[in-house]
């Protein structure tokens, strides 16, 4: 699926990204260049470039002469990111509803079925299916920059979704929202698909915030 990283910086960035997103490296942890280089069997320059990439993605922050640390998110950041995602998701949904083909509908129906088949307890599997479902809609929208921005924003909050366990609990609500999204997609109603998609993001954000508040 994902092509093998062509350069060492890309490789290093990929490794660090999955480690951070997977929760192996906690927020606030210093990212020591020499350690990373030695651990991955490369030298420091490619590590430095990889860190610049992560900086651009918002996953690491640089304090001059003091190195990088894994970026941390507070509640305000979550609110901000989900606010943005609401608007962009609505935008993409409206475009997707206008451009969708019969094949797109069939594909999305299949992805929805697959997601329905997954048990509530299989969080990782559900997250993957969920990701595929939404990514397919974005693909229909046909806006590469928009897609990249959404993926980046999603990535940034994803690790908190995991630790906060925001996906657990009332799965019935999530499933109902997905069915509503598919129905509007099938109907080709831009306004409706836009609003249900936006509502879906908003409700996801609310669940995450609630989970985070409870977690502290």
């Amino acid at each position: 699926m994902t092509p093998p990283p062509s350069s060492l910086p890309d490789y290093v960035a990929t490794q660090l990204r999955t480690a951070i997103l997977g929760g192996q490296i906690a927020a606030g942890t210093p990212l020591r260049q020499e350690d990373i280089a030695q651990q991955l069997g490369v030298s420091r320059p490619p590590v430095r470039e990889a860190l610049r990439l992560l900086e651009g993605e918002g996953l690491a922050v640089l304090r001059p002469r003091r190195g990088y640390v894994v970026a941390s998110l507070d509640a305000a950041d979550v609110v901000e990111i989900f606010g943005i995602r609401e608007r962009l998701e609505e935008h993409a949904a409206e475009l997707a509803a206008m451009h969708r083909t019969a094949e797109d509908i069939a594909d999305l129906a299949r992805l929805l079925e697959e997601m329905e088949a997954i048990e509530d307890r299989d969080l990782a599997g559900f997250a993957a299916a969920n990701h595929a479902f939404h990514a397919r809609i974005f693909q229909v929208a046909g806006r590469p920059r928009l897609l990249r921005m959404m993926l980046s924003l999603r990535e940034t909050v994803e690790r908190y979704v995991r630790v906060g366990g925001a996906l657990s609990g009332d799965m019935t609500v999530v499933r109902a929202e997905h069915r509503a999204i598919f129905a509007a997609f099938e109907a080709g109603d831009p306004a409706r698909l836009g609003s249900v998609s936006r509502a879906h993001v908003a409700s996801t954000g609310r669940r995450l915030l609630a989970a985070l508040a409870q977690h502290d």
Copy 2:
């Protein structure tokens, strides 16, 4: 206003950014690391990091083993970017209308006056005043990530606004839109400020597209 770049990569990135945005380096131009390094009196590693930064900002694209080139935009890119900006500007405007203080209103009034005082022919001066006006509204919204994203998107299309001369011509329309924005800001009406701000972005996009179409 802008603090001096703390590191060499930041310095190099700033230099390249202004050169690209100012039109000194055309789209598609290869960015040779050695040339840039020699011209700015630094070595290649910091140049490489700077290019990674520009890559993240969408101003340069990397073709593995073949170096970086200045990113180019076609009409579809412009449509996409302005579509995103419409939504994000509306979002920010709604937030700004809710959070504004008396001091914010006074500041924005002053910025509007300054912009009104600039002659139509002084494109650079008008662009700067325009930028300050909109940046002040975003500041009121109080969303740093949203601000960064908007600045990046604005930057990306700015050079085309310049070459296309999209700001020239019917300045009366632009000025009227700015007055409408200020009025809604002063009134503190989120829905109205959102819609007029979004319409302003949309009309700017239409003008740019028309100018680009005419230019070819």
